[in-house]
Symmetry: C2
Subunit: 398 residues, 2 copies
């Protein structure tokens, strides 16, 4: 049970925060839906789920990266409040690369915890499959170091490949274990009606897929997807006005690291994640062993393994072994990415952090159907911005 | 003096917020400085002004519209913390059209008021003069209603022209008074070493300038500028650790309105401003007559007049008369835009809201030199997003 108040920095928060409604579109190639359509669809689902009325909302946060570049729209939070008639609610877009959704949840948390807002809608959205792929890849690359990486043509998959090479060698890990992450996440995604890919793959198929950035192959890399996800947040002490099954945000942490990957002392260690997790555990008064399951940011299979270590679940170098031993599978002791993760659910950049929270909410309510983690009480999300230099962690509890 | 705590929605905030450092670049055509250079320059000035050390910062917010479209950079808040070595501070970009800076200040306020952060750097920045003008105009137009305005080729000056036509006719106001706003703001800007334009203009010159969108002429329209502005915010009870002259954010309000201008019942009334101002006055426990001077968002001269009414300074239809009677000039009873405003200081979109707060801080400290408003104690800013459909008001006091 939720015990009322949270604290950090020696300051007791005015009040805790609860999720009282959530919704998402199916992720995938959604050709007939505009960016606005996506935001509206997931938000109406969340507002209805919360039994909230339009006039109750004080603020709206939209996590998104590329509305300007890909959809020729700015001020998209203003578009949403207009379309949903949430006027005169405050409205802002939050951009933190692929962690824009996680950052948007954080801003919603702070809006309520500060006492400024009572009821907040948080949305993550990206509409990108209609954009020619060279433009998608080169736009995503703009989140790398502007003068030390981007200008030399670094892409995200290339950084992922370098990280995988370094990791496999340093910790003496078999390359096959990367593909096993994809097999696991596709197996989970097959049970998720909101996933971009809803079918299982075999290890043989993953191992035989084309090389993208050695040693990463096609099935080690998440797809480009369209989609949106929404949450309704309110003060914990008012949550029962909206739902019988509030899910509490017990803590969060956000931290940054040296942007240029080659400048980091050990690029196989995600220092930003370690610090963000430390803050989140501290705020929640919980430890890694209290977490029942997690949604990690597996934009590349190697990232799930590395994150599962730096968030405190496994010793450094032992994340891959946990996959091999079945620990992180749906029936294991610590399921990771029951939703299918970015690999199978898909990765509409700004939507991902919010979709992670939606999945965790469904899991904690026991509404996750065939992919339900039995009896779970506490879930954690890792949303990965930049190439690991800006990471947001949230801890949720029923 | 600051009385400790603020309240809203019946909830007492954990703590109030103070500005303990500020800085800005000169605004203008800054060809030899990158977007990063601009952020770094204003931020180092603010950090030095606050006598803060890098390791003190918990969070960074950057207000910006077009880093992706114009500068091929995303995650620019992460870039800044890396360059300034504020690691591992949390970092996010906030986009709310031309009110991105105002929204960034609000997020900084909430980060501290919630108890999550102690010391926050807020930055506004835009680098746009190097972009060919057709791209600037068409990009700015992406903040209009996507299917009811943007797709038909609406631009911001065209909406400004229509508003001016409607206003002049409805309230029987002489067109010359629009130009008088420009004359006043150029006169103020001539004393501002950070202004894009530091020279006075004559009424005759303004009236003879080329028509941009009838009845708006060249001197009724703000320039395209590069620039950045930064603030250091902290909890009010810790402000004296950083400065002897803290300036307090006594209140703020943000509100949205119907996006499509033609759908509003009376387009000469800025309902979003009325609501945002109501919230800000309520939080600050102040009224319009308590405000000594204001920085309004005069992207077009007509906007200063309309805002001066809807923020509560003058009756509807009498804002222009106040300019004619000298009330809003530097030596008048309620000076508006002592900085020179957007018209003369310039308008690097995301930077403007933060620059308004920097000017007000300097004024309240008595550091504004030849443009000082004598003996001022309370200042107000209006930052205008979209075409008036998302407005942020802040009230500051020494």
């Amino acid at each position: 049970m939720y015990d009322g108040y949270l604290s950090l920095l020696g300051v007791v928060f005015v009040r805790g925060i609860a999720i009282v409604g959530c919704g998402m579109t199916r992720f995938g190639q959604l050709e007939d839906k505009s960016l606005t359509d996506l935001m509206v669809e997931s938000s109406l689902m969340a507002i209805s789920d919360a039994n909230a009325s339009e006039s109750d909302f004080d603020a709206v946060y939209v996590g998104n990266m590329f509305s300007g570049e890909f959809n020729r729209m700015t001020g998209i939070a203003s578009v949403l409040v207009d379309r949903l008639n949430l006027l005169p609610a405050a409205a802002d877009k939050i951009e933190n690369g692929p962690a824009s959704g996680g950052s948007a949840i954080k801003e919603g948390f702070q809006a309520i915890a500060s006492g400024v807002s009572n009821l907040v809608l948080v949305v993550g959205v990206e509409k990108m499959t209609s954009i020619p792929n060279p433009k998608v890849s080169s736009s995503v690359a703009t989140l790398t170091h502007p003068t030390a990486e981007y200008k030399y043509g670094v892409t995200l998959p290339s950084l992922g490949g370098l990280l995988a090479q370094l990791y496999l060698k340093k910790y003496n890990v078999k390359r096959e274990l990367l593909s096993l992450v994809a097999v696991k996440n596709h197996k989970n995604g097959a049970h998720n009606p909101y996933a971009h890919f809803q079918k299982e793959i075999t290890l043989e198929k993953a191992l035989a897929s084309p090389v993208i950035a050695d040693p990463l192959r096609l099935f080690d890399v998440c797809p480009v997807s369209d989609g949106a996800a929404s949450l309704v947040l309110c003060a914990a002490d008012k949550a029962k006005e909206y739902t019988d099954t509030p899910i509490y945000i017990k803590g969060f942490g956000q931290a940054t690291d040296i942007q240029m990957v080659a400048e980091r002392e050990d690029p196989t260690v995600l220092e930003a994640l370690r610090e963000a997790a430390r803050k989140a555990y501290s705020m929640a008064k919980l430890e890694p062993q209290d977490i029942d399951f997690a949604e990690l940011h597996d934009a590349f299979t190697i990232l799930e393994i590395v994150q599962s270590e730096d968030v405190g679940f496994f010793k450094k170098g032992e994340g891959a072994k946990a996959v091999e031993e079945g620990k992180t599978w749906l029936d294991g002791e610590l399921p990771i990415n029951p939703s299918g993760g970015l690999k199978a659910r898909g990765h509409p950049l700004g939507a991902t952090g919010v979709a992670q929270a939606v999945e965790i909410t469904w899991q904690l309510r026991g509404e996750a159907g065939k992919r339900q983690v039995p009896g779970c009480e506490t879930g954690l999300s890792v949303n990965f911005g930049g190439f690991g230099n800006n990471i947001v962690v949230h801890i949720f509890q029923r």
